[in-house]
Amino acid sequence: MIAPFTQPFMARALAELIVLGALAGTVGVLILLRRLAFMTDALTHTVFPGVAGGYLLAGEGGVFWGALAAGLLTAVLLTLLTRHRAVAEDTALAVLLTTFFATGVVLVSRESGYTTDLTAFLFGRILTVTGQQLTQTLAVAVVALVALVFLRRPLLARTFDPGGAEAAGHRIGLLDLAVNAIVALVVVASVRAVGTVLVIALLIVPAATARALSDRLAVIVPLAALLGATAGWAGLAVSYDASVRHGLRLASGGTVVLVLVGLHLIALVGRRLRLTRGTA
């Protein structure tokens, strides 16, 4: 499973998926603990028009910046919305998300032959990742991880006990904004590789698997990162293998997610076995 990666494009794809897998795994723990799955889903919907708009305005290179603008804007808006709970905000959110998503669809469809682009945005296209894109991903990963390390104690306090954290003087609003922004960054970085639809899998499945296997954060976080990175490598290897040896074209992004889900199922089975064998 090493040979295919000697080719430059495969090596880049592998590097991208490993970095993303590790990053998404780590941030995913935060999403899991803060119950942010819905907000993350919202982000994947709103990043899409950013992706489409960026692509229309500036081609392939514009995708990242369009997504970034849309993602950060959403992070801010969602933070505000959840802090000032209006009546029926669920309804408003569902409508707005779908409308944003549709805006992206409309934008993309203006180009004839838009189906390929749409698919790439929705489901990813890892094999054409360039050196520049890889650099962008690394930059995002560094920013996100540095922020998480710097904020880890306030984040832990706020996540576990918001009342106590506020009493201790932590600024909950700013912390929440930081988290939402970090999640937005990861979504943006992952869009090209796995697409907006599958990003959420990358974010929640490794973390859920790690949580099923351990009760200690010191284990859960690195484990989630490891699972994410491993699935990135395995998914790419499997889809390459299938293509070269069996003539089957398997979408890489989808394969990565299937590997993640497979690992999750194994973990659940393992945990069930361990529990029935009677360790408290």
Partner: protein, 251 residues
């Protein structure tokens, strides 16, 4: 030692047009203790938040340890109700208590042996030293409340604020909480406890503050916790049982 731990001076709080508190007035000396007593929605939690500097005052002043509330936060510790916390959270009791030291540890440094020792001592003071490695959620409600108190103790506060700490707590934990609170007071910390439980207010606190938006009394427990004042505070009939405990029923 002359500076009061807490001074409430004609305090008023409003949320928009709604008055949550008015004319709350009283003082707590270092080592002293006051129970905040009143029905649900009386403003006990609001008052605690105001003491923490989390809500702006419409009128009056709050002085904590001689300073403005926000400035005094490093020496104030807050104990929330344990049942508001997620029982599935992957954190051990020991780690929860260590969080009390975060202010001293800061953002980036690793906890020092002194910090770990303080956390261990605090956990010991609530009688749960042997549960340090257990996940917080596996403890009983009362034990969780004790862990939260230990977290506050680890912060070495001079003012301790507790919000309904005895709710749904078993007898053993209740005693452990009372003992630990007493220990803190002996070291000179002042304690403010919001509670429904009148009997525990008698046991734990020298003074009571009766409030239901406005104040119906602030003074020594024996003298202030009278049926008349309780009736006024709770707006209903007060019954006396054995001259000691008082049960309040709404008319």
């Amino acid at each position: 030692m002359d500076t009061p731990a807490l001074d409430l001076d004609e305090v008023g709080v409003a949320y928009g047009a709604v008055t949550a508190l008015e004319n709350i007035d009283g003082t707590v000396v270092p080592g002293g203790s006051v129970a905040l007593i009143g029905p649900n929605g009386a403003g006990k939690s609001t008052l605690i938040r105001a003491i923490l500097g989390l809500v702006p005052l419409r009128s009056g002043r709050i002085t904590v340890l001689g300073r403005a509330p926000a400035a005094a936060r490093r020496e104030v510790a807050y104990v929330p109700q344990a049942d508001t916390l997620d029982p599935e959270f992957p954190i051990s009791a020991g780690q929860v208590v260590l969080m009390g030291r975060y202010r001293r540890i800061g953002r980036l440094r690793r906890p020092r042996p002194a910090d770990r020792a303080a956390a261990a001592r605090a956990l010991d003071q609530v009688g749960l030293a042997d549960r340090a490695r257990d996940r917080f959620g596996t403890l009983s409600g009362g034990q969780r409340q004790r862990v939260l108190l230990a977290r506050a103790i680890a912060a070495e506060p001079r003012l301790l604020l507790l919000d309904e700490p005895f709710n749904g707590v078993d007898a053993v934990s209740e005693q452990a909480l009372l003992d630990a609170i007493g220990g803190l007071r002996e070291h000179g910390a002042a304690v403010v406890i919001a509670t429904h439980d009148l009997a525990l207010a008698h046991l734990a606190c020298e003074e009571v503050c009766l409030l239901n938006r406005c104040q119906y009394g602030f003074g020594p427990t024996e003298a202030t916790l009278t049926p008349d004042r309780l009736r006024a505070t709770y707006g209903g009939h007060a019954l006396e049982v054995r001259g000691d405990s008082v049960i309040v029923a709404h008319s």
